[in-house]
């Protein structure tokens, strides 16, 4: 089905024309994205302003005297009206300068980009690692459960994934950590004793085969890439369990829908094998909704994993933002929020582009 390159006349009609609507869509969406970013920055600014206390109060704590707080405020420039501060921040942001954290001191400027940069890299690394495991696995499982729907395999996978999405993610993390901690003594723990002995000793012997995965994902600039991957195994496993259900169920639902199409029945009547039909005929028509749900989950991997970061002590951007919100460090909050919003927008855009590119109706005009 794929390779007809040797047949002449491959450049069918409409190739060039197809770029135009695609580009138009991308540009339009980017424009809307900018508007969204602008609105996000206003919303975030107003929310932080609405929060009780400010950075000076929060950093100095409860025991600071009012005069000290006032002096600190002046040092931060909080005596200027909020609108002015916002506009000057905005002016910088438009030029790509997100300013410096309020923790900066004279002589020790902490640029927001310098604070966020390494953490953003960490976050993307974890997200990428998880995605590499989770996305293909989810799509494969989705395709298989769609193909063998109603079978024991289908029910088992569905039940398990339902369970993983109904447990809080920090709890999944704790359970994984527990398995690591108790790997050599599972049968002795309360949980181990509650299960029938054959089961707990079985689990115990499986666990003892497992390598001793690190429960801390503390990394720094001197961590090598191999070490990093090793340390991130548990976090990415946790996140995989968190996101896989959604993607898998969506893939399954979409595929079941597509499998009801006349062209799938046609495929069977053409004497094609089931696997070929699913992967060659059904999947290509399911990419658009799958891309949307994958984009949604990838965005989650970047913006929503603060809890997992905390549990595994991973210096990602989510924890940074929560800390910044707590301490009212506006420039950092703003930059994080904009990065998150931009991630969301870009991923959705990519999903839309995939939807267009994989749909010849949108790619090729008549």
């Amino acid at each position: 089905m794929t390779d007809v390159a040797e047949v002449p006349g491959r450049t069918g009609p409409g190739r060039q024309r197809a770029i135009v609507p695609l580009l138009g869509t991308v540009l339009q969406r980017l424009g809307l994205g900018l508007v969204t970013l602008f609105m996000v920055s206003i919303v975030i600014y107003l929310s932080i302003e609405a929060l009780p206390g400010d950075f000076a109060q929060s950093i100095l704590g409860r025991s600071a005297s009012p005069e000290t707080v006032e002096a600190y405020r002046q040092m931060l420039g909080f005596d200027r009206p909020p609108i002015e501060r916002y506009l000057s921040w905005m002016a910088g942001a438009v030029h790509g300068d997100f300013g410096s954290s309020l923790t900066s001191r004279p002589g020790a400027v902490r640029a927001v980009s310098a604070i966020i940069g390494p953490r953003l890299y960490n976050t993307f690394f974890l997200a990428a690692m998880t995605a590499i495991i989770a996305v293909p696995l989810a799509i494969l499982l989705g395709a298989l459960t769609a193909l063998y729907r109603g079978s024991f395999f289908d029910r088992a996978v569905n039940g398990l994934t339902l369970m993983t999405i109904s447990v809080p993610e920090f709890f999944i993390a704790y359970i994984l950590c527990y398995l690591v901690i108790s790997k050599d003594m599972f049968a002795m723990t309360q949980l181990g004793q509650l299960l029938p002995s054959w089961l707990s000793s079985g689990i115990g012997s499986v666990l003892s085969l497992m390598p001793k995965l690190p429960t801390l994902a503390a990394i720094n600039e001197s961590t090598t890439i191999g070490e990093r991957i090793w340390k991130l195994l548990l976090p990415s496993l946790t996140l995989t369990l968190v996101i896989i259900a959604h993607m898998m169920r969506m893939t399954r639902a979409v595929l079941i829908n597509v499998l009801a199409s006349p062209y799938i029945e046609m495929g069977r009547l053409k004497g094609l094998s089931s696997a070929w039909i699913v992967f060659k005929h059904a999947l290509p028509n399911a990419w658009a909704p799958i891309a949307t749900v994958v984009a949604f989950n990838l965005a989650y991997l970047i913006v929503g994993v603060v809890v997992v970061e905390v549990v595994f002590v991973y210096p990602g951007i989510g924890q940074l933002m929560v800390d910044a919100v707590r301490s009212r460090d506006m420039p950092v909050v703003q930059a994080c929020a904009l990065i998150f919003a931009a991630t969301y927008i870009v991923l959705n855009l990519v999903a839309d582009v995939i939807a267009i590119v994989t749909n010849p109706r949108l790619m090729y005009s008549r």
Binding site: G12, E265, M266, K270, G271, H281, T358, P360, R361, S365
Partner: protein
């Protein structure tokens, strides 16, 4: 015409033999018999026409011939032997390798049956390549050759198009090419031309027939249209409720049908109603232009008059603008220029500008009763709503009126609680009619109201409409592509093409003495109950073309 047609087949085992076949279908939590013991025999190179209404089991039968039971169907008895093999006991893998290679299938809707994501050529050669029968290059060459034989334009290139890039008629030919790719022994044609316009249908039929005969391929041709089947088939079998009611060679079947049922299959063609006397103008349209999204012009300078209590038929093929015209009248699509006068007053463009009473007076019945009825409303709610809304009827009075209306459409009060999903196609359309009548309209627009229905049901609906018109004196604007329907119901006829009004006049004028080439083409493309009609028509047209060239 073909000599082989009347010749006796070579003796020996038939290509396909079906005996005592029984198939059950699952619906409403139960298994119902769909096919109740059918015997069928097909020789090599023979074409069998399978005809019947929807639900007669003809598609199921066609698929069983491939050893394939539709999802929700199970074969409960009988045998299917193809080329000496018992198709019902062969392992699935062996069946799979026969499908597409030895038995091919051409589906009703080519647009839905081609995978929208892949190019036509890829799909055409897929089976041959996957089954390892042909190399990719050879298969592609063969496909291109077949495209040419089926008279697809630019045969060498069209394979690189995606399904949405070619027209319905071309898709149907490409699907035939796909079926022919492995040179199968048997092709199942499942209503291949039903979704096509008449003028296109002629072309597609002609090219299909040519190829099948050239390669001496056996075929089962499934259709509800006897006239179409007659052009293709050597022999015809009539199915009803899963039973073969009649089987005979084509000419014999047409000439002397044995059963009443067979005769009734073309009764709609026999229907004809006396022209009503002229009356005053009910609705007049002058210089009307309209379209969608402010830039796509669909109607161009249309003017016509509808007389009170009579029926105006608007005829045209898909894309002619006839449905848009209906929507402009009902106010769903705004007028760009021109004006409409209804009962002596200018009809505002767009329904928002119309009073409730005006909205009440013009009602519309839609082509597809499936989408025109809210699937979550009961029949009572559907018919009762206009009564409440326009006439302010409440309680008992409303309930009584609903039952009256149900009686009027020849349905009983037992249908009150049914949801549309629990009704047959004809019943749904009747409910639509009742809903329109509930508003006590003076003008009803019927947009292809019978085209989704079986022949018999069509006849009933048309008769019902006719009766209602006589009782209530309603004016009809009847939009259709089917000339038989026009003949059955119209007083006046308007022919549309490409958004323009081509011809207009009384039924007799337009149908019997068409003035325009297009009208002529349209009329001549309507299949006739004559096995030689297509051959003759093609010859005539070719002659005409030669004459024109000269």
């Amino acid at each position: 015409m073909n000599a082989s047609k009347s010749e006796p087949r070579q003796k020996g085992a038939p290509l396909l033999q079906i005996a005592g076949l029984k198939v059950d279908g699952f619906s409403d939590d139960r298994w119902h018999p769909i096919v109740k013991g059918v015997d069928l025999r097909l020789e090599r190179g023979e074409i069998l026409g399978l005809i019947g209404e929807s639900g007669a089991g003809k598609s199921t039968l066609g698929l069983v011939a491939m050893g394939y039971a539709k999802p929700g169907c199970r074969i409960t008895g009988g045998s299917v032997t193809f080329d000496g093999k018992d198709m019902l006991s062969l392992p699935e893998e062996e069946l799979r390798l026969m499908r597409g290679s030895r038995i091919a299938y051409v589906a009703q809707s080519a647009a839905a049956s081609f995978n929208p994501s892949h190019r036509l050529l890829d799909q055409t050669i897929e089976t041959a390549v996957r089954h390892g029968l042909l190399g990719r290059r050879l298969a592609a060459a063969r496909a291109v050759e077949m495209f040419g034989k089926l008279r697809l334009p630019r045969a060498a290139e069209i394979g690189f198009r995606f399904p949405h890039q070619v027209s319905g008629g071309q898709l149907q030919r490409a699907m035939t090419a796909m079926a022919m790719e492995c040179r199968p022994d048997l092709i199942i044609f499942d209503e291949p031309t039903t979704a096509l316009d008449v003028t296109t249908q002629v072309e597609v039929l002609a090219s299909m027939r040519e190829v099948v005969r050239e390669f001496n391929t056996a075929a089962i041709y499934i259709s509800h249209d006897l006239a179409v089947v007659a052009q293709m088939a050597d022999r015809i079998m009539v199915l009803r409720h899963g039973i073969a009611v009649e089987e005979a060679p084509t000419r014999k079947m047409l000439a002397e049908p044995e059963t009443e049922y067979t005769r009734s299959l073309w009764s709609v063609r026999a229907m004809s109603q006396a022209e009503r006397p002229e009356t005053d103008t009910h609705l007049s349209i002058e210089g009307l232009s309209s379209g969608y999204a402010k830039s796509v012009k669909v109607l161009d300078d249309v003017s016509l008059k509808v007389q009170r209590g009579r029926t105006l038929a608007i005829v045209g093929e898909s894309g002619s603008g006839k449905s848009t015209l209906a929507q402009v009248i009902s106010g769903m699509v705004p007028v760009w220029s021109g004006k409409m006068v209804f009962e002596g007053q200018v009809l505002p463009s767009g329904f928002r500008g119309r009073s409730r009473d005006l909205l009440r007076k013009i009602q519309m019945i839609y082509q597809s009763p499936d989408t025109a009825l809210n699937p979550r409303h009961t029949v009572e709610e559907i018919i009762g709503r206009p009564l409440e809304f326009y006439l302010g009827l409440r309680g008992e009075e409303r309930d009584r009126r609903v039952v009256e209306l149900l009686d009027m459409i020849e349905m009983g009060s037992q249908f009150l609680d049914r949801l549309p999903g629990e009704l047959s196609g004809g019943q749904k359309q009747r409910v639509c009619i009742a809903r329109a009548l509930a508003a006590k309209p003076s003008l009803v627009i019927c947009d292809e109201v019978t085209s989704a229905l079986d022949q018999l049901v069509q006849t009933e609906i048309l008769k019902l409409l006719d009766t209602l018109q006589q009782e209530l004196g309603i004016t009809y604007v009847f939009i259709t592509h089917d000339i038989a329907t026009v003949r059955a119901i119209a007083d006046q006829v308007v022919v549309m093409n490409g958004g323009k009004l081509v011809e207009q006049g009384s039924r007799a004028q337009v149908l019997e003495t068409p003035q325009q080439d297009y009208t002529n083409l349209l009329l001549s493309s309507v299949p006739e109950m004559d096995p030689d009609w297509l051959t003759r028509l093609l010859a005539e047209r070719r002659g005409g073309a030669i004459a024109a060239a000269n």
